[in-house]
């Protein structure tokens, strides 16, 4: 892969002036300095990666460049000229395009309508038709196939990303910012994206590529700038860089790449799933005849690109979504389509994907959040009356045990940091010796410290004899933690491998829908 990406590289014109340059940019939010005197530039015909952990300030920096934030100090140069970018509109006019991590698309609209939105030069009447033609031209030139008349919600994440890139190109973007573009892609789609980026490099565009994944940054970038806690640690040429060096710069210390995972003998089945079918919010089949089982004392990982039915699967197992066909047994009892409350009462813990929207009640205090789901049972509630002393006692233990940083247990949960919110959820879910833990993207978006702590917690559950179902987009995480790994693709499980014998490439193929020959 590395080699064929390399052949596409044109002369890099190191002396050509940068397309854009951010000079000493500082931007702070209440309580955090997100960017501290950051200087960064991108030249024509190069891919400049911005590498750093979640929360290092990468997104804030490009948001300044795209006019979404105004810097507290420092300034922006476009083609050597100092400019003030007050809005995305001005950024677009200056030839800057951005593909956000969470796509900025109007889902119920068609591709063409999305492309026409706010686009100069589209006809007033029937704008979608007018823009469709230009879309087709561009998609051929850059190798980005899409159908202008499809509605965006029908498209896969990869296709939606193409729409975003086309939108930027339509607006004459010379500099394209891609914020964590590969997080929604299969390895194969990632390869295709990299080919598109090479095309853009050849055409003289500058690309800012934001990522926290070392491998792909090394693969695609010409230069790499590493950020940590709002500051630039350094900028290096990709040619002379390697993974350990980047990792050190990124984290600021040597990184331990392996957790200690004790040997565990799997026990009886904690969960048996037999051929279940589940629909998504739009009423379309999302999980199609999935069967597997999770034993006690085992972590069963589900890998796969987001949007292939993992969310619906987990929600169905947690009782939040109707199972149309099939059967779910927990500890041998048939619990198909039972209520979330019953499932929680028999020992199913659920660490939800959307932790702020679903996992906590933002305005309720930390202690009140800690009893959610068990608020109706003794000792917290007797005859309909809450028991504040028991709640307080339980909260204090949980806060200490899990190291939740909060000024006091009465603080509203919304004031906690992301990592502490997740710790709160895990403290609550894991407190009652669950038989089965459903963990969806448990470390997504967290810093290294919290991530390690949470992985540690999941391993401890496994040792304590719980069955753990781990869904994650982070393939490394699944391979590190799980005993067995299943891959989901378009609502089906394309194969199950045991962690010891799994190879990255093989799982990658399965993520793209290649059936594994079971043997």
């Amino acid at each position: 892969m590395r080699a064929d990406a390399g052949t596409g590289r044109p002369d890099r014109r190191p002396d050509s002036p940068p397309l854009v340059r951010l000079e000493e940019v500082t931007k702070s939010f209440p309580g955090v300095v997100a960017n501290d005197r950051v200087t960064f530039d991108v030249r024509p015909g190069e891919v400049h990666a911005l590498l750093g952990e979640n929360g290092a300030g990468k997104t804030t920096l490009v948001n300044v460049l795209y006019g979404l934030y105004r810097p507290d100090s420092g300034f922006v140069l476009v083609r050597g000229r100092r400019v003030t970018i007050r809005s995305p509109r001005e950024a677009i006019a200056l030839g800057i395009g951005m593909v956000h991590q969470h796509f900025k698309l109007v889902l119920p609209h068609t591709v063409a309508e999305n492309a026409a939105l706010g686009l100069k030069g589209t006809p007033f009447w029937a704008p979608a038709r007018g823009v469709g033609r230009r879309l087709r031209e561009l998609s051929e030139r850059y190798g980005l196939p899409v159908d202008p008349d499809r509605r965006v919600w029908e498209l896969s994440a990869g296709e939606q990303q193409r729409v975003e890139i086309l939108k930027a190109l339509l607006r004459g973007a010379e500099v394209l910012i891609l914020d964590e573009p590969t997080s929604v892609l299969t390895p194969q789609e990632t390869g295709e994206l990299f080919k598109v980026l090479s095309r853009m490099r050849e055409e003289g565009h500058g690309v800012i590529f934001i990522s926290h994944k070392l491998t792909e940054v090394l693969e695609v970038a010409d230069r790499i700038t590493v950020m940590r806690r709002g500051r630039v640690v350094g900028t290096v040429a990709a040619a002379g860089a390697d993974k350990p060096m980047l990792a050190r710069m990124m984290v600021g210390r040597e990184v331990v790449f392996r957790l200690t995972k004790r040997a565990c003998t799997p026990g009886d089945a904690a969960l048996n799933v037999e051929g279940i079918h589940v629909r998504n919010d739009r009423g379309l089949p999302a999980v199609r005849g999935v069967s597997f089982s999770v034993c006690r004392g085992e972590i069963f990982g589900i890998a796969g690109v987001a949007g292939n039915g993992q969310r619906e699967l987990v929600e169905a197992l947690a009782g939040l979504r109707r199972i149309e066909r099939g059967r779910v047994c927990i500890l041998g009892d048939d619990v198909t389509n039972r209520s979330p409350r019953l499932l929680s009462d028999i020992g199913v813990a659920h660490v939800p994907e959307e932790r702020i929207r679903m996992g906590i009640v933002p305005g309720l205090s930390v202690e009140e959040n800690l009893i959610l789901k068990r608020h109706h049972r003794p000792p917290f509630c007797r005859a309909g009356l809450l028991h504040p002393a028991s709640v307080r006692r339980f909260a204090q233990t949980a806060i200490e045990e899990h190291g939740i940083v909060t000024s006091n247990p009465k603080t509203p949960a919304k004031l906690l940091s992301g990592g502490n919110i997740q710790k709160l959820i895990l403290a609550r879910e894991l407190s009652g010796q669950p038989a089965l833990v459903l963990a969806a993207h448990p470390t997504y978006g967290l810093d290294v410290g919290a991530t390690e702590q949470i992985r540690e917690l999941l391993l401890r559950q496994r040792e304590a004899g719980a069955g753990v179902l781990l869904v994650s987009e982070d393939l490394e995480e699944v391979m590190e933690l799980a005993d067995r790994i299943a891959v989901m693709f378009r609502g089906e499980i394309t194969g199950v491998v045991s962690a010891g014998e799994a190879k990255r490439e093989e799982i990658g193929m399965m993520m793209a829908g290649e059936e594994r020959v079971r043997g």
């Binding site: 948001n63 795209y66 979404l68 934030y69 809005s87 995305p88 509109r89 001005e90 677009i92 951005m98 956000h100 969470h102 900025k104 698309l105 109007v106 889902l107 119920p108 609209h109 309508e113 999305n114 026409a116 939105l117 706010g118 686009l119 589209t122 006809p123 007033f124 009447w125 029937a126 704008p127 979608a128 939108k167 009423g283």
Partner: protein
Amino acid sequence: MDLGWLVSTVSRALAFGVPLLWGTLGEIYAERSGVVNLGVEGMMILGAYAGFAVAQTLGHPGWGLLAAAAVGVVAAVWHAFLTVTLRANQYVSGLALTLFGLGLAGLLGRGWEGRPLRVPLGTITVPSLAEIPVLGPMLFVDQTILTYLGILLAVVLWVVLFRTRWGIAIRSVGESPATADSLGINVTVVRYLCVALGGLLAGVGGGYLSVAYRPSWTEGMTAGMGWIVIALTIFASWDPLQAIWGAFFFGALYHLSFRLQAYVSPELLKLMPYAFAILVLAVSGFGGARWRRRAPGSLGVPYVRGER
């Protein structure tokens, strides 16, 4: 049921549906841009008062309607200021607008109470179309110009919403303001304009009541029509064309509640449109998501840049 009865019922239903149609078209635009305005009742009553007062003073119904439109815009812009700029709760702001509007119109209108308008808006007869048997007298006689303007407006507003750049911008702002913002659409301006248009049309709808339909001023003469408008907006799935038949259906209900008084007690008849509004929404709830088209994605949610 004889033919004459049917003809006059349809004709009156059409006339009574006009304020509902104008109001609903306005609310559709406001909600398509993501702003619920529960102040329709308040804007309509203010429009009705202003329309009457100005038409009476200046002696021409045209000025009255203009004044009604202007008052509606002012009230709506105030709602937009509170909800878009100050990001206040849209429900509460709309309720406040209704309370305030009913109070203010009642206060100012005390002197005019019960007096007939000197020069009401005249009715027209559409040449040649009126000659068609049955349909002619049903649809083309004894209507004011606002009936036909309203239908034309519905068509125009549909075209603008679904076939022009402006429409894409409006719908995008209502579905996903962050997306529109990231592409340089000014969310604030779009929402102000749509809410203001909503006020303009609601104002005219109110003005129609006092200047054309029942040319006089009575306190509380909108009688909850503003709320029916809110229900109709949902019922019409935020589609200007569907608002046409929805409005005239409820116009018929209102009219029938007068018409059937010989058979049923008038008080029970008067509650019919309100009961139907609930019924209609409940029935559309039966079909679930398939039957009913979704509300705009960010309806009721103030937009704050940079918040996810």
